[in-house]
Amino acid sequence: MTPEEATAVQTEVSEAINAGQLIERLVAHAWGQMGSARYNAAADAAAALHNGGEVDLLALFRNYLAAPTVEQGTLFGGIFFRRTMPKLHSNANDMLQTIAAFSARPPGEKAYFPDQGFPAWCQAESSRPLACLELMKTEPEKFERLLIYVFHAGAIIDAPHFLREAIELARSGEMTLKRPAMAALGEMDLRADPTLQDRAIEELRFQIAISMDDAMTAVAFLGLLEIAKRTGDLTAIKASMIIVPPKAGPDTQVAMAQALWRLAKAADSEFIATILSALRPLGASNQLVLDQLDEGLSVLLSEDSLPAVAKFLESVVEHPAFPADLKSFDSLVHKLTTERPDLFGLLLVRALLTGSIPWRLEVAKLVRGIGDHIDEFDIDFKKMSMTDADTAFVCRKAIGHLPLAPVACASILISALRALSGEAAAHVAELLLDPLLINYPGTLQEYVKKRQGKESKPVAKHLEYALAVLQIYLKGLRAAGEVPELRASDQYRKIQQELQREDAAATWKAARAQSIFMSIIKSSMVLHSHQTAYYQEARDGSLVRHESGMTSHGVSIETPRLDVVDPLGLNYRLMLYRLERRPS
């Protein structure tokens, strides 16, 4: 900004002050119209006028905020506060009263809290934190939210003093001061003096140990979390995990769940396992916890953490009182199915091998065909050090749980074949043939053929066998040809067609009824063509012709053959596979 322009802005601000419209023009309306450079200049000019005694900016704000209604824009003037407030010359009382005026606005207005400017203002002069603290002690309810900033700034200026103050307040029993003081113990950066740091940690652990209040425990735990985050040392927070869980109420649970993602960089698998283990009994009783965990688990997901994550998810899914489904973990599911299909494969195998039925069903839902996520796996069974019997068991379980996802299922079996030999491999090849290929000779046959060319010789040989036997089977079916004697009677056929039509019509109707698309557009029936045209009058009065063609949309799915020729048999077999116990 040129000096001329700066002068122009200063003039503009002076005019606004003279017109008694500084707040409205500078804070409420100006940001969008002035651009950041001019706006900053205006904010600086206003601060200079305040510091020069030409105007009491803080008093202006207080008056403005005392009115029953205010310009909403005023309450969101964050940039102004961040830039201006630290520069203002003011005593602690004026500053605190002004900020309190913001806090006093009705909650519905969601007044912007000038917390970005206040800490800087505190730090700008060494006496301010102490002055603020003393004032705050007199009216704790009014200034509760600001206390933490005061401690933060104070710790920079005089760490031992403010640590003592924080501990004293934390132990004072005055709840309004206790909570921010405990938070301040975590917020104060005491890394420069390990002794002080340990003192803060000790105090927080002490508070956790004696606290009977969930909110207090949560604040203390978060304090430890903040320290761990700064120092990268999880020792204290891990140690606290021994005493926290039994008395963890909703707030503490959320705090613990937060720890997963807030400590993502430092968290090791042991820490993750400890947190998850502590939260396991909750199930889906606390949606906030689930949200935090979803965020945390999606960040922390790795091969090392997978067992703990799987164990936790399983416990949540099969929770006796508060079961959840994996929809509650959409970030995690997204990560698993799009970024880490390798881990999803391992998770699935683990679920099939040792998981409970609800857990297996839930994981299976993530597979395309059952759910809508993933349709092919490449699982390294060798790496999992499973016995042949376990691997074959997983294959049967996969068939039992993924009968409508033939490609996914076959890819698991083919993965297993890579790790198997001898009888176990032959058994899996048989499973690939029957029931998989026999049920899905279309798409699946193509997939297996494709894999055959890419697999190692021993695996390809098994695939070749399965495909060859499938050909014999299909040849047998084709050999039957048209046998009119075996045709169902015309009466039955007509009834079947009628019922199928009824079903299709009902499905179509239901789909239309639920369609968001159909609710926002007008639909018209076209009787005799697949093209439509209409005319619209243009601005100049001429008619413009619009033409649109219609195309058909459809999907096709392959029905399992045995679902028609032996529905109960297939169902029974799948049920057996689903219920089969792991070989001892």
Partner: protein
């Protein structure tokens, strides 16, 4: 009509098919057939001989039969050629084989062929006739056209097959590719012929029905769809059997003998159709996994289920008929026939086992009345000692039914309406399940077979299932009653006696006692005409055709004694 008949005659493939038609045809024309076709080589060149009046003159006709067209090679073939047969008649038969009562009558040596005479052989044939003709001995040849005319003016002439009946007959034949409709017309035709029968014309009606069935069968064979004739042949045989009862009740008489022969012809024809169906159409596919199921070509499991149980019953019944015929042949010491029958029985037995093994749907009955087909298969298999297979089948069926019911997937129901069946099971709620399983013959019958086969585990499972899940189900068994003779052959209307409140307990004692007691006390089964005549497969056929369960009398003797743990002896076949 003539074209239809001509085509039919031309399509007769085997000599014995012409054999079967001609005697009925000539008998219907008032001729006396004194030498009937038999299996094996001709009797000195003569397949059949009859005495009849032609142009006012009584003559003896000696027939040599040849199915299809007569070609040059068939004319000249040695030693089974047509010319060789004619030589044999001239040289061997004529001198001393004419029965004395026909001696002195003019003799016509007649060559009958269903199709056409090849041009290349016509000259030879006419020359032969001319050279061998002498006083009192002439030659003639009847081709398909002539036979069709004879049918038109004989067995199926206007007053015997009136215009309306001809229309029904034509429709039945023309619509043979739509079996339901074809059988419906055929049924109407049979009903009409019987309803309009003149007094004492039972034989004639039986023959005409047989001829009509022949035509239907041959046409169906040409269009490669044997469904209509199979059902029609059961229907025809059962109706004719019922029709024949007043005459058969007489102690003797020509009409009685003629009727027995007519029924024999019809049984022969039915068995020919049934064998074709079982051995040629079904069993070649039975060995291949799912082939029969897939051949139903339906996406509805219910279609496959119903069709396969129906087919199972037919094949099993065919095997049981063969066992019946075998009993007769054994009694007559016809060793070579017995050997052939044994082969056919084996094929049926293996076929039934293959069907069950390769089409698992046969382990999951969905209609209670499928117990008829199941029992037929069991009787066939049990009769030849295939108990190990039966044990497995019974056990698997029991397991599948229990699983199907408890998982509400698929289980036997009492419904018969196709719409109900297509939707079954349409709900998992108790009221629906109770309605669907309100009654059952299947469960007590399966329990009886579990006892017969000493399947204590299956019996235990079944009895537990019935006690816990089927308390509401009226377990029952059906026995023929006093009104059954009147109804069972021709109607699916309720008849007989239903034994209710069957107790199926794990030890089976009460079940055995009740069945034994009823079989002893209830004489209606023994009094069924077919049983009195010893033609037990006819009762089975009536049950299968009209969807009645097979009476326990067929297997009561195989049940273990009430207090004995071990299984029983032989079934009553």
């Amino acid at each position: 009509m003539k074209l239809l008949l001509k085509e039919y005659i031309a399509a007769l493939k085997e000599r014995d098919e012409l054999d079967a038609l001609l005697p009925d045809l000539l008998s219907e024309m008032g001729w006396t057939v004194f030498l009937r076709p038999s299996r094996g080589p001709r009797q000195f060149g003569v397949d059949m001989a009859a005495c009849g009046e032609v142009d006012g003159v009584r003559k003896v006709y000696l027939f040599t039969l040849k199915a299809g067209n007569l070609t040059r090679s068939e004319w000249h073939a040695v030693p089974q050629g047509v010319r060789a047969s004619l030589d044999q008649i001239r040289d061997t038969y004529l001198p001393d084989a004419i029965p004395p009562q026909y001696a002195g009558l003019p003799i016509v040596i007649c060559l009958v062929y269903g199709g056409e005479l090849a041009q290349a052989v016509e000259k030879d044939l006419r020359g032969y006739f001319k050279n061998n003709k002498k006083r009192g001995r002439t030659y003639d040849d009847w081709n398909g056209d002539r036979l069709a005319n004879m049918l038109m003016s004989g067995a199926l002439r206007e007053h015997l097959l009136p215009k309306e009946s001809r229309a029904l007959f034509r429709k039945s034949v023309a619509l043979v590719d739509e079996p339901d409709v074809s059988v419906a017309y055929f049924g109407e035709l049979v009903t009409k012929l019987i309803a309009e029968m003149r007094l004492g014309a039972e034989v004639s009606v039986a023959r005409r029905i047989t001829i009509c069935l022949w035509v239907l069968y041959v046409w169906a064979r040409e269009s490669e769809n044997g469904e209509a004739p199979y059902v029609a042949s059961e229907l025809a045989l059962l109706r004719v059997w019922k029709l024949a009862q007043p005459v058969l009740a007489k102690k003797r008489g020509k009409s009685r003998e003629d009727l027995i022969r007519a029924i024999d012809s019809l049984v022969e024809l039915h068995l020919r159709i049934a064998r074709d169906f079982a051995l040629k159409t079904i069993l070649p596919l039975a060995k291949r996994k799912h082939a029969l199921s897939a051949a139903v070509r339906s996406s509805a499991p219910i279609d496959i289920n119903q069709k396969l149980f129906d087919v199972l019953g037919r094949v099993a019944l065919c095997g049981l008929w063969m066992q019946f015929i075998r009993q007769k042949r054994v009694a007559r010491n016809e060793a070579s026939e017995v050997k052939l029958l044994d082969q056919t029985i084996r094929k049926c037995v293996h076929g039934v086992a293959d069907m069950i093994n390769n089409n698992p749907v046969l382990k999951t009955p969905i209609r209670d009345d499928q117990i008829t087909d199941i029992t037929l298969a069991m009787l066939l298999l049990y009769g030849v000692g295939e108990t190990a297979f039966l044990e497995r089948w019974v056990s698997e069926m029991v397991g599948a039914i229990i699983y199907g019911y408890r998982s509400a997937r698929q289980y036997p129901c009492v419904f018969q309406d196709p719409r109900d069946l297509a939707r079954h099971p349409k709900s998992n709620d108790e009221p629906y399940k109770r309605e669907a399983t309100a009654a059952s013959v299947l469960y007590p019958t399966l329990a009886s077979w579990a006892l017969i086969l000493r399947q204590s585990e299956a019996m235990q499972n079944l009895s537990e299932f019935l006690a816990t899940d089927m308390e509401h189900c009226a377990l029952q068994l059906w026995f023929p009653g006093a009104n059954s003779e009147e109804q069972i052959y021709t109607s699916d209307a309720p008849n007989g006696i239903t034994l209710m409140d069957i107790a199926v307990q794990a030890d089976g004692n009460m079940l055995v006692r009740v069945i034994n007691e009823e079989c002893v006390k209830n004489k209606s089964f023994e009094e069924l005409s077919a049983m009195r005549w010893g033609i037990w497969p006819l009762v089975m056929m009536a049950c299968r055709h009209n969807r009645f369960p097979l009476p326990p009398n067929f297997w009561v003797t195989a049940l273990p004694a009430a207090s004995e743990p071990d299984g029983g002896a032989a079934v009553r076949l």
